[in-house]
Amino acid sequence: MARLTLPCDEATVRKLKVGDFVELTGRMITGRDAAHHWLMHGFREEVAPYMKNSVIYHVGPVVKKHEDGTYSFVAAGPTTSAREEPFQADVIGRYGLRGVIGKGGMFAKTLAGLKEHGAVYLHAVGGTAQVLAACVKKVETVFQLKEFGVPEALWVIDVEDFPVVVTMDSHGGSLHAEVESASRKKLEELLGLGA
């Protein structure tokens, strides 16, 4: 199991290959549908320093607000990344992200963006909200909470030993494309569809 400290540099990320297990430690930001839309309409200076050389986590957490005004993550597994496909490559380029954490994988445009900018797609296990929330040691700050609500706000979090698998790398490799293609072939065989 490789360890990766965030923020990190391009050379480190370029070494990662499809199938690698990685444990992440350091600071990352969360963002999903509303966040990606917002990030693409202008350059959001307030969040940019948290994104540069770090990763964005596709998650809509359950969050508890404590009496002293601080927050903690109660449940925080990945959400489906496919919805961010139209935006992701541009968000990576514009904000200097080194990676994306999500589930279900992404497609050609993002894969090209990973290659161009030196970034990876990191797959967390969908639904494992308790295991992953336990890796979130601190909520540093939050952006757009009032506007987007708890699940869609951009939360800046410190994580420790956050487990992920590289399923799309910066060299054009994609486990999702491989599995899709192999399973399509099998489906065609089972249904006698042949191309």
Partner: protein, 294 residues
């Protein structure tokens, strides 16, 4: 008979149980899937993580998944009980469970695009009340996450691309195609609920109702039982595997029902439930005593 407040309290307990305690038949199926995968494969590691997560959620009574889903509930109630009261009590239970972080604030007002913050919005939760002859109330709750809801699909037959005609073979082809289309995006290994016939709305609803069936449950209709077993076996040959990482465990169960249809229409509606198949059944006697059936 209990008043609205007592029903709200019962429903909050049902929601809390559904959100944190996965039914034993689902856990067993995931364990079998885990053992079938190659040692140290991505598939096996993913299922190890899933099984660990289930234990933590169970022990701490915390949400298994942060997407606590759309609450879909079917309430069987005795003759004469107010369905408006039961519906209002359930809606209040969703708001209360959301305030306690048992549920995520999971409802967006689609017109204003704002999260309502309390878990409720037009059409959320969905409450179905059905009168029955018993003096008890039986509550069947399902928390259905958005990721798996998004990979549901509806087909109209015939479908030349799939060589699917208006017959059971055609229905089977559509369901297998939907499983392939979903890949890992609905949090595989999933459970498939399907319905053929009906209209676009009733077909999807029946497909979801099928998901209330426990996994070992066999379809009483012979042809449908055979179809369920065949699809399960073939789907697990696709090699999609847990999370779409590749592997043997793509689907944990297939449940198929049917409805009547118009001569012009032949829909096949497929609902995909993620591995976190959060269903809960409670039978509540007039005394207030609760028996958990899931």
């Amino acid at each position: 008979m209990a008043g609205p407040e007592q029903w709200t309290e019962h429903f909050v307990n049902v929601i809390a149980r559904a959100s944190s305690q996965l039914p034993p038949d689902v856990v067993d199926a995931l364990r079998r899937g885990r053992d079938a995968e190659a040692p140290d494969s991505l598939a096996q590691k993913a299922l190890d993580s899933v099984l660990r997560n289930i234990e933590v959620a169970k022990g701490n009574w915390q949400p298994i998944c942060q997407d606590t889903g759309t609450p879909l509930v079917w309430i069987h109630h005795p003759v004469g009980m107010s369905t408006r009261m039961l519906t209002a009590a359930f809606e209040e239970a969703v708001r209360r469970a959301t305030a306690k972080q048992v549920l995520r604030p999971n409802a967006v007002d689609t017109l204003t695009d704002r999260n309502t913050g309390n878990g409720a919005a037009p059409g959320i939760p969905t409450v179905h009340c059905e009168e029955w002859d018993s003096g008890d109330v039986e509550v069947h709750l399902m928390l259905k996450g958005g990721g798996c809801e998004n990979v549901g699909a509806q087909y109209t037959l015939p479908n030349p691309k799939l060589k699917a005609d208006r017959d059971l073979e055609g229905v089977k082809r559509c369901i297998l195609d939907a499983i392939h289309q979903a890949q890992g995006k609905g949090c595989a290994p999933g459970i498939i609920g399907a319905c053929f016939g009906g209209d676009r709305g009733s077909g999807f609803l029946e497909s979801k109702r099928q998901l209330l069936r426990p996994l070992p449950d066999r379809n009483p209709v012979g042809e449908l039982d055979a179809m369920e077993q065949e699809i399960l076996e073939k789907a697990n040959q696709l090699g999609i595997g847990p999370m779409g990482f590749g592997g043997k465990t793509t689907v944990l169960g297939v449940k198929v029902g049917y409805l009547g249809r118009l001569p012009a229409s032949y829909f096949v509606s497929v609902s995909y439930m993620c591995w976190a198949n959060r269903r809960c059944t409670a039978r509540i006697q007039p005394s207030g005593e609760v028996t958990w059936l899931d």
